[in-house]
Structures are given as structure tokens and as C-alpha cells.
Amino acid sequence: MVIRALSLLPEACLGVAGSIVFAALVAAGSRAGRVAHRAALTGAALAVVSAILTLRADDQWLFAAYRVDLVSQIAKAAIGGGILMTALLGRRAGDPFSGARAVGPFFRLVAALALCVAASAADLLALWLAVETATAALLVVLAAEGRWSSVEKLVRRLVAGVLPSALLIGLGVVVMAGVAGSTRYEDLLGSLAIQYARPTFLVAATLAVWSLVARLVFVTVQLRAGQAAGQAVHGVPEISLVAGVMAAVLRLMALVGGIPLPHG
């Protein structure tokens, strides 16, 4: 049981680091920012190491709604790497981490944890909630860092693009699960033999996958455009976003196409 639980080490590292950063945020003392920064750095580094060490893990949790395999662990290593790079770059830039500056590291860790859940999710509902949590946390990171006037337009564009795509992903998930009768990937796979011919299922699956891909492309392009325009978006972990959403898309596409994913 203990050895089996080791496969969840990356999530545990990010969760513990997030809790420490949250405590620092609440304490808001003079050293809160420094503590938050160090905790985020250590948590992200440990998450990368533990994800690499558990590459060969092949486990299921929460009644097969949460899957740990090679694809999810590679994605988690990339997610942790993105957060680590962001923390290191922030330190090099000499950000004066005051108590209020712990907001950024905290929501980055929340986004990383949510993306880890998205990478491992074998349940449509968990996938949808994880992707939306990650996106919302990244929006908060973006809004909390830098001067508001420099990021306001970017935040507006992102909100305007993210909201409709969230609803479209939600529609795809609800219809796909409703037609198949379950939200679990395993059950969906089992009912594919009957449901595959039904155009409703395919339309809903296509809608969910393409909305996820469109979300990924939209957010990445907007962040790039923001960086090109000199807006303060250096702290946004794009690598983590790409890794987490791509793992989720890969899992969904494998489900729709009936392709088995490689295990550890």
C-alpha cells in the first residue's frame, strides 16, 4: 500500500508545498514571501524528481477515476519543470518577494496540482474541473503579478476566450457522458462498441477534444502576444499548461480512437 502510494508523490510534493505557501500567505510576515518562494522551489524540484522516479508506475486510484502511468508521469515531470523554471527565473530577476507576492507562487502551485490531476484523470468530470481550475489559477497569477494596467487587456482577452471554451468543453463532457451513461473512461471505452456508431457521441467527443486544443492554443498564443508586447507575463508557466493539457488530450484521443496508451 505504501509503495503503491509512492506513485502519488509528485502530487503530494506540490500539495504540501502549496499548503506551506498558503500558510505563509496567511501569516503575511516580513519573511512570508521568501518562505513562499523557497517552498515553491523545493516542492517543484521534488515533484520533478519523484515523477521521474515513478515513471514505471502503473496504478489506478479512486475506483479507476485516477490513473498513474507513463504518460501521466512524463506530463507531471514537465509540469513540475515548468514551475521550477518559473521559480528560478523569478529569483534571478530579483523579485522583491513581500508577503503579498506569495499570491503568485501559491496559485502557480494550485495550477500545477490541477494540471497533474488533468494529466492523470480517467474521468471526464475530473478532467473538466481540473482544466478549469488550472486555467483560473493561471489567470489569477497573471492578474496578481506586474502592474494591473500592463496586464489588464491580456486578462480581458483571456477571460473572453476562456469562458466560452470552458462552456464548450463542459457541453462536450456532459453530452458524451450522458450518451454513454458514465463519466469514467473505462465505462466509456466499454460502451464504445455500442455508442461509437451514434453520431451524438462522436460529435460530443470531437467538441470536447477540439475545445481543449483550442483553449491550449488560445492561451499560449495570447501569452506569447503579451510577452511580445512587453506585458508582465514572465511568471506564467506555459510549459506546465502545455504538458498537462496535452496529456489530457492524448488520453481523450486514445479513448475515442481506441488506442492503448503505453504503461510504465
Binding site: 483560473a136 494591473w148 469562458l163 456532459v174 463519466t183
Partner: protein
């Protein structure tokens, strides 16, 4: 018959919500669109799960998750609105969120 009617109502509400969210430039309009679409998702989930007879409790779980998502989205939008209002206090060319 009930299922078909609920699916039509849910789809109509969803399209209305999306159009509202995309067309409105103010924050309140977007939030209204979001909430309307979330309501449509709840109708669709409940109809599809409850009336087809497959695991009706899953439809309720989906409904609770959608409500949680809508609440979180509304809180995020309100927080962004407050941040914008605080940062732009006194600005002449302030656009409404």
C-alpha cells in the same frame, strides 16, 4: 417525449448563454451568459442521466460540479472586477468590465 423536450430546452439555453457571453463586453453580461450556460448544462446532464435510466446519481454529481464551477467563475470575475476598479480608480477612460 420529456427527454426530447428537455434536450431542446437545454440546447436553447446553452446557445443563448454562449451568445450572451460572447456578445456582451461587460463583466456582468459575461457572468450572466456563464450562469445561463451552466444552468443549461445542469438541465442536459439531469435529463440525459436521469431520464435514460443510467446511473441517475451521476447526473446529480455532474450538476453539483457545474454549480461549483459557476460559483468559482463568478468569484473569479468579481475579484478581477474589483482589481480593475481599484487599479483604475479615478481614471477618465475607464471601460466598464
Amino acid at each position: 417525449m420529456t427527454l426530447a423536450a428537455l434536450l431542446v430546452v437545454g440546447s436553447g439555453l446553452f446557445v443563448l448563454g454562449i451568445v450572451t457571453a460572447v456578445q456582451r463586453r461587460s463583466l456582468i453580461g459575461m457572468a450572466l451568459g456563464l450562469v445561463l450556460s451552466c444552468g443549461a448544462l445542469i438541465v442536459l446532464a439531469s435529463a440525459l442521466f436521469d431520464l435514460t435510466g443510467d446511473e441517475p446519481s451521476t447526473g446529480q454529481v455532474v450538476a453539483v460540479a457545474v454549480i461549483a464551477f459557476a460559483a468559482a467563475g463568478a468569484v473569479l470575475l468579481a475579484a478581477l472586477h474589483l482589481a480593475a476598479a481599484r487599479a483604475n480608480r479615478g481614471a477618465e477612460d475607464l471601460e466598464p468590465w
